[in-house]
Subunit: 255 residues, 4 copies
């Protein structure tokens, strides 16, 4: 059986990528499109709407939302009230809003997802790093990005280090009396773990977590080349929320 | 509280490594050593024995066994009967023996481990690869070994592919009509996954599992430099079996 | 002093990239553009032409050519006759044409380049691999491409192996009596060197040349993410041909 | 024709490795051994000596020296005076001594080598990095060592950066206004290049030089697993010095 999908915000960059992904998957059926900035009323046989209220009577399973922070909360509420399981990639929800939408989803018995990040590979990397840190407390992170990135270390590297520090036996990497001949050589110190940030043209977004132990090493690496990678996660979420009966925050809870 | 440990087969290569590991860990206390080929009766304050029966009265928590296939079954049985939780790295057990020893351990309420492989990194790699294969069916394996290795692919690569094939949506990697200009370029085919075996001097034992998806990649790599890496696993097993009440086969069941 | 540049074929994909590269480099000055399919007569202050003859009187140092096989020979001839050093990325020249154009360039005392490949990184990789193969005969190649690639191994991998085989002591990698448990595991055999081809979505074009020797390893890797990388080579060629007095075939002769 | 070799200091660690290497190479013939701490007068058919003077009458081509700083200068002088081309791995020569020995070698028309480092892979890596830095000024270094190493960055990393800075267009890697959220994230600054030092158990000595450019990347990596790797360089030196007519300092001059 195919899953019937609505896409809200289909004219944006992410909405367009979602459109392409849904129509190319034989297990999904696109049944409605929403965007306030559209002039069309139909696209390849699929009805197109400017106002969410017009979608209330549609038969659909999942509401994919890549709109704007201003309307995403109202959209998600509307989806749940009309029986559509929401898969929301829009950011800007307050924690009160998430709590409220989770309660509403449970009341309706509908699954759903609000996620700041749909890159499955990045999420798996963090999960694996956390599992490995239990057994291998000796670990350093190298993150490599294009040279237009302003902050170092990257948010993902810091989040990975935070997750590992929750399960890792705290210790300081390197020799107790090690010396930096040039300042900064040993990288940033996060709870004794060292993080190194490489910035070069040509690179996109890459992260390595390197564990070392007597006689062995374990390296986990994620390479992100472009945002189309998010669609693997959106596709997974669509297929997963229809089996659930409550909304969750964070794609990791559907893995 | 420290864990009291006996080492059987302490004169062998693995036994010596275990000896070193136990005396260097302040949370472990070495209380007895066994080896038929020893002449000593004491080693750094620890009593040394030639016959297992002489150890029956010893107060100890764990029996580490790196002996020979011929005596390992009897040793493990003896350990369980005398209240020592066995951690056994000797190979050659039949599945009947394992079933019987597991039953005996349950009866005595003692934890224990019989493991063909104590390399935690290799086991984690297989676990992570299996988890990732659920979401990323596009995967190939590269294993790299020293050039004195006879078989290709390695046993670990085949086992990793087997584990992934149990959860992965079966598919053939590469273009349907791809062509090998030189035979063998696309590697060994295991359920559609490709395995590539590199053999070079200088290398020891390394494995990469590479997942690809639209716009992203995930790579898991394990490097094994020498057998001392096994001791991380033996150390973990000693600390874990004392909390259990039944013997298991395979270190993965203690992770 | 800036170098004055003409771009022929500026409306095509490569021509557009060349246009962008030239205007962004303060050491280069764009003085004329040529394309039969243009309607403009000026672009940001630079005169635009439809016929090459109209460029004869222009003061310029270098003629960059990304046109079509049909006109590239005539264009290059025209450039040399009018005192412009040609940098030609168009393919399809016969070896007679190249010999003739080289002779003409020598007669005129003008440098020039005809190149099938402007990716400096790929060319450096091949040069380094060839140098290393003199000292490290033990070598294998892994090339990794997107899964829409039809042929395996890649042309670059085969060319790299050819170059190495000219200087390498011929030998067969791996144990003399090694066994493939699954056919193809040891890859394609090129003069005893093994080549392994990985095909996965998400990948673009990557190549690793791995040398092994007693107690050490040397790995050379090139990652190609997109064709904009060619412009680094075009820029280098423009600055190099003005110092030369004869046309060469292949960017490696300008490195 | 085989090359006849003497080994001075054959009882030491490096001397033993050299002994093994020479007897296993059919193109080399061991004709004499020297060590003050030996009791043997013969080893597998090869005469063994305690005093260098006793070797004066021997017919030999090359004098391999792994002795001590105290005697190496006198040994090298003795070798040259008796017509043996020296290959010296002992350290501690003053630059005056090297100048003097070079002059003596030229007078005698004998090749020779004094080298602080025989790891060909490490030397090639530095050469390749220097060549690449001419075309790719965007570069960072990651060096990875065992966690007992005191200094960071490693001497090899600093030497590599020095060599690159001689040919590289000086520039500062990263965004002009980049910010370190945690101090040290961007590594050590050497003439604008960043160097990152990883320290983990299990690692030995590894170095990556990563170049980035628009749309492409080039990575050079050297892995050093143990000192036996030096023998590849000693073997090469033996075969090279017999073709030369002057002593050089540094293995790079024989590549």
């Amino acid at each position: 059986m195919t899953i019937q999908v609505i896409i809200a915000g289909f004219k944006g960059k992410m909405g367009q990528a979602a459109y392409k992904m849904v129509v190319e998957d034989p297990n999904l059926e696109l049944v409605g499109l929403l965007d306030p900035f559209t002039e069309e009323t139909e696209l390849a046989g699929v009805p197109v709407f400017k106002h969410k209220e017009d979608l209330a009577q549609l038969s659909a399973d999942v509401w994919v939302d890549f709109t704007t922070p201003k309307v995403a909360y109202e959209n998600t509420r509307f989806a749940l009230e009309n029986g559509f399981a929401p898969v929301v990639g829009t950011t800007g929800f307050t924690s009160e809003e998430i709590t409220e939408l989770t309660a509403l989803s449970a009341e309706k018995g509908l699954g759903g997802l609000i996620a700041p990040n749909f890159a499955i590979g990045a999420i798996l990397l963090m999960q694996f790093a956390t599992q490995a840190a239990k057994y291998f407390p000796n670990v350093e992170i190298i993150e490599l990005h294009h040279d237009q990135k302003k902050d170092a270390p990257s948010g993902t590297a810091i989040k990975t280090a935070e997750l590992m520090s929750q399960v890792r036996t705290s210790q300081s990497q390197g020799l107790a009396d090690e010396e930096e001949l040039i300042e900064g050589a040993r990288g940033a110190d996060f709870d004794g773990m060292r993080i190194h940030s490489v910035r070069l043209p040509g690179l996109v977004a890459h992260q390595e977590v390197i564990f070392g132990s007597q006689g062995e090493g374990l390296t986990l690496r994620h390479d992100s080349y472009d945002r189309t990678s998010f669609m693997t996660g959106v596709n997974l979420a669509i297929k997963e929320v229809v089996k659930r009966d409550q909304l969750v925050y964070g794609l990791e809870h559907l893995l």
